[in-house]
């Protein structure tokens, strides 16, 4: 059963109606072709209206869509020779983060990404993509290696946040995140970070410090979930929709605030509609950005990275 989002129900209903008429035409003597064409035109217009006017809350739903492509989906479509490696060498292997090496159009790269599941079973194994410290430390280990061997780093961000559990606290969740933020600002290789789904708080940012921070059109990136913000602001988690608007968590809003560098367009109806086509759009942007970054001298790369982060903020002087 495909997951249907609230705002796209009219589209789904119309599509079903068209399919029904088509079957009817085939099975009976009545020719409804004219009617079908009319409805198809209407569908086209409706889809256009809905998908080009997505509200922040619609995008939250899109970003959380159960079938939305995950890190490993993109890895499969974008890279060759991917080898996944495990473990942080201190404590364990966190399945909420995947890491490894691969080739991207012939050049070696290191890949790191949050990994959630699409089924309940897989989500339980992957802790819903919410990492423990060992996940962040696994990521750090692979990025250190990338820096050592001069490989660009591609990060995929897709998490509700770092896991708020007892063991995570005991093993230094804060330190693990902090260390990633610090070290990523200093690796002498190009780093491209792409928010592909939800980018929740520090756990998302821990894979998000680099030369480019990009977002898929319908992904979100936020300091707190809309539900959380609504509970604080209005003591009512049900007002999440309103909070999603106030918090400015969508790609267009964050581009305007200077938090992200650019937006990767999504195919109409969302990335989950056609992984192959979506991967091609992501591919174009990675190639474009990587070619730019690869031209830069190491010192220039680091200086520009510092400039980029040191500028973010809003204050008057």
């Amino acid at each position: 059963m495909k997951q249907v989002l609230e705002f796209e129900k009219p589209v789904i209903a119309l599509r079903e109606k068209i399919a029904e008429l088509k079957t009817f035409t085939k099975e009976s003597d009545l020719d409804l072709t004219e009617e079908i064409v009319k409805l198809e035109t209407r569908l086209e217009k409706l889809e256009n209206d809905i998908y080009t006017n997505l509200k922040p809350w619609d995008r939250v739903q899109m970003a959380r869509h159960a079938e939305r492509p995950t890190t490993l989906d993109y890895v499969e479509h974008l890279f060759t020779d991917f080898l996944e490696f495990h473990g942080d060498r201190y404590y364990g292997d966190d399945a909420a983060i995947v890491a490894g090496i691969a080739k991207y159009k012939g050049r070696p790269v290191t890949i790191v990404g949050h990994q959630r599941g699409k089924t309940t079973k897989e989500n339980i194994r992957r802790n819903f993509g919410m990492p423990h410290p060992e996940g962040f430390r696994k990521a750090a280990r692979h990025m250190q290696q990338a820096a050592k061997f001069g490989r660009p780093i591609i990060c995929f961000i897709d998490t509700k946040g770092a896991f708020p559990g007892r063991a995570a606290e005991e093993r230094g969740q804060s330190e693990a995140i902090a260390r990633n933020l610090m070290e990523m600002s200093g690796f002498e290789v190009p780093i491209i970070c792409i928010v592909i789904g939800e980018g929740g708080s520090g756990g998302a940012l821990a894979l998000g410090v680099g030369d480019r921070l990009l977002m898929l059109e319908n992904s979100t990136f936020s300091v707190i979930s809309p539900e959380g913000a609504a509970s604080i602001l209005w003591k009512d988690g049900g007002k999440a929709k309103e909070a999603a608007e106030k918090l400015k968590i969508t790609a267009p809003d964050l581009k305007e605030l200077g938090v992200i560098d650019s937006i990767i367009p999504e195919i109409r109806g969302g990335a989950h509609r056609d992984l192959q086509a979506q991967a091609e759009l992501v591919d174009q942007v990675i190639t474009e950005q990587l070619l730019e970054l690869e031209k830069l001298d190491k010192q220039v790369l680091l200086e520009q990275r510092w400039e980029k982060y040191s500028k973010i903020g809003s204050y008057a002087e």
Binding site: G161, E169, L181, M182, S185, G186, G202
Partner: protein, 285 residues
């Protein structure tokens, strides 16, 4: 995320309640450790450490600075940074004004430099009386600049942290201050700078998960609560009762997350000793 919020809410409200007990406007002050009543002035002379039970109460930033720096040596950095309202969040500016009036501070961190035991050092002290010392653009910017100044002057950087977490009203701009400050620490580290972090009650969320954890030495005051997610959210997530001392400085020390827990009365001597030992490496001017 939703769970983050609970942690923030908890620690945004709890220390406030405690603060009311700690430092009432009146003459008397009740220890939140043992309940003993003191003259406020008497407690102030004790740096708000209870003489009876040793409980460390919140210490206002100016008194912290006075207790550590050699007399008359402190000068403040960046006194003219003003917080904006980038997301046009309802009543954000009014809330800031209220805390400005209450504390006499412009924002939740004071930065500057001076000498400690004769050693010149750059410094930042967060003040949880102001918006629970949540980290917005100005807090992040002031801290990043103080670290940059320490790097340029080749002097150590010491920070006293306190925070309920992110400044929600500044959205992702607040989140990105974690990256900005951590990147500043990286540059300072590359230049061989000495950074000391002392975590005070409470240090949570985005502050805990950035510069607070990035010192060459990470210390805490006794009993300080420190963590990424708050106690309540952890309890709600794992559905089990947590130990009484969960996320206290002593708990973190036991779990290998801190170098030491330092009593406030010993702080100046302790820091001076570290600065003195590091001087041999040419790090202190």
């Amino acid at each position: 995320m939703l769970k983050d919020f609970f942690s923030k809410k908890k620690h945004a409200s709890k220390p406030n309640e405690e603060a009311k007990q700690d430092i009432p406007e009146g003459l008397m002050l009740k220890c939140s450790g043992c309940g003993k009543i003191y003259y406020r002035e008497e407690m102030r002379k004790q740096l708000y450490v209870c003489p009876n039970c040793g409980h460390h109460h919140q210490l206002p930033s100016d008194e912290r600075i006075n207790s550590l720096f050699d007399e008359g040596s402190f000068t403040e950095y960046d006194t003219d940074l003003n917080t904006g309202n980038p997301l046009e969040f309802p009543s954000y500016l009014q809330k800031l004004e209220k805390d400005q009036l209450k504390t006499g501070l412009k924002e939740a961190v004071v930065t500057g430099e001076g000498t400690i035991g004769g050693y010149r050092t750059a410094f930042a002290v967060m003040d949880s009386r102001f918006r629970m010392a949540s980290m917005g653009s100005v807090v992040g910017e002031k801290i990043a600049r103080a670290i940059e100044r320490a790097r340029q002057a080749d002097i150590p950087f010491i920070i006293f942290t306190a925070s309920g977490g992110a400044r929600m009203q500044e959205g992702a701009l607040s989140l990105m201050q974690m990256a900005k400050t951590s990147a500043a620490v990286q540059r300072f580290r590359d230049a061989g700078g000495l950074m000391i972090s002392v975590m005070t009650n409470p240090t949570y969320g985005g502050v805990s998960a950035s510069f607070a954890s990035l010192g060459d030495y990470n210390f805490a005051e006794p009993g300080a609560l420190i963590g990424f997610a708050g106690r309540r959210v952890v309890e709600e997530t794992i559905r089990e009762k947590l130990p009484e001392d969960f996320q206290t400085a002593e708990f973190l020390l036991e779990h290998g997350q801190l170098d030491a827990v330092i009593n406030r009365h010993d702080m100046k001597k302790y820091l001076t000793t570290i600065l003195d030992i590091h001087q041999a490496g040419g790090n202190v001017s």
